[in-house]
Symmetry: D2
Subunit: 188 residues, 4 copies
């Protein structure tokens, strides 16, 4: 069977962002799995004009990845109780590419709440994009303690937590791909 393509989007351009450690860790955990491929997409690497919005500023490389993916991991810190604005600016450039595919959210925070409020704010947006957000999140509260300065994981419990998160993402990606390929959407 064709492997599932589950790319990870690192969703903040902030300098010194610790979310980069998280995104690399999650990408690595995905890469270890059988039957799955992945790729780290950095919001810093996608050309993002600020004099337009939506499909009028679509990047062909990003669009092709969204077309090809079977499920998406979003790694994002919580800024002012919401998602980074640039991440939404980027996601808004595509639409049909997302439909009937799952998304999993990885929340990152300097403080104790693990980005839970960012997750809550993302749910209506991801739904409208056609993505089915899985009901297991992965949260990195006090991210400064979870990795050392080189990005090595300091808290081994995250390996199991990431596994639970990815189990659910893989299940949903498998099921929805089967649906997209085999179940006709009947028009009544």
């Amino acid at each position: 069977m064709k492997p599932l393509f589950l790319p990870v989007i690192l969703g903040t351009p902030r300098r010194g962002r610790l979310s980069a450690h998280v995104a690399r860790f999650v990408t690595g955990e995905i890469a270890k799995r059988d039957g799955v491929t992945t790729e780290l997409i950095d919001v810093l690497d996608v050309p993002l004009p600020v004099d337009g919005a939506g499909d009028e500023i679509q990047d062909p490389g990003f669009q092709a990845r969204m077309e090809a993916m079977d499920g998406l991991v979003l790694v994002a810190p919580e800024y002012n109780h919401g998602f980074p604005g640039l991440l939404k600016h980027l996601l808004d450039t595509c639409l049909p590419e997302y439909i009937h595919k799952p998304a999993g959210i990885v929340g990152v925070s300097a403080g104790p709440w693990g980005g839970t409020r960012m997750v809550q704010g993302f749910l209506p947006v991801l739904r409208e994009l056609g993505l089915a957000t899985i009901f297991t999140d992965l949260n990195f509260p006090q991210v400064g303690k979870a990795f050392d300065g080189e990005g090595n994981l300091l808290e081994p419990a995250y390996v199991r937590r990431a596994a639970n998160f990815l189990d659910e993402l893989v299940w949903m990606a498998t099921v929805l791909r089967h649906g997209r390929e085999n179940v006709a959407r009947e028009e009544a």
Copy 2:
């Protein structure tokens, strides 16, 4: 193949509730479909103690229906930009029964916005219950104009809108049931 069981919950106990017309209409539209069964569950008919919460006040009849269902339709008005409290009080009584099943939301309002704000507020709750909220809603703004006093539909366009909504619900219910029955959730 066993028919999909797609019950409808009428989610407000308010006297004179026009949502009852909506719930009966939607139940009727589901009943017309092949391969599907339905039932109207009225929040007024489920015993709901107010001296407890969650599984401690679970009703066996409601629990059995949630266990048996393959997808859920929630019909609810918007009260103060949120869902009716009693509907959440009821939904909170179950949990494993909902997992990996889709939900579709039907918003009702006296004014122009069709319950969109109620829908937004419901998304995080339904996700945590394990329900996958479909990305097509059905909205009845100015519900007083959509039905006559006996509950007969006055605006025929709702038949097509309900069909679009149900097409998506049936697709997701079909796909997720296949997943629940055939795709092992591998533990990494």
Copy 3:
């Protein structure tokens, strides 16, 4: 000057609710302040019919307290990433009583996130009720460790956290009461 009346609503009827410890603690911290009176309102003690909604089931005692209050503290656990349904069922029974008064939210959870998701879900509802939710929350994660079995506080840091929360609530209650009493709302 007339003291500010800042009642606390204990918002869950769940048996064995640890939120009761939290509500008593917060009520006690308010009572220690000069120029402020308080009262603990237990959702269990307000008659709450389940065969109606909104003003049709209004309780005169609750209504009188909402009329009299200058600011509200809501103590609520997070159930399924949302507020307890009965708390909204109760709040929906009033409306003009709330307008231009502040609310502060105290989140309670058994797990690590302190009810942050419940807070997020409450914001649109409280705004529509006319309440101005202050931007400082008070969160009790892992509430089982914060109090002993008799409800005595085990973690003294909560005294300072509650003070920060109440400083903001008192400021906003003072400012909005001045506005209600002295600033005409001009109709253009």
Copy 4:
């Protein structure tokens, strides 16, 4: 008394944006009032780097306006059931400048729901910024019918709706400015 400074932010860079008509109309309605000054701030005119986030990309001109303002009007379309990402990218560049000042949201949509979902998603973010979102919104559903191609208002009812919205914003701006200038925030 010093006039209230109530600037309007036009929050989308999308080409052909009809929100520009809305923002100009609202700015004009504010300018007609006594005791108030305003200015239209266009997200297109503020330098917005995409290789950073938050205060590290702060623009001095925008910062000075946020420092000076007594209340903010946000005009924004709903993109994928949320606010434009660039608008949050911009708002995240300031923080203390917003505290204890009101915000009013003007929702714009091509379709029937008037941006209500964008408003819902903004509430937690604006609260965390320290802004008090007023409980009256101004909604422009089917904005293509509200203005002609030159931006002239075609539906006169919006004049009264804008007046209701601005009455509330002015009241809250007046009350909170009095509070900022006269009510000490006591530290308990």
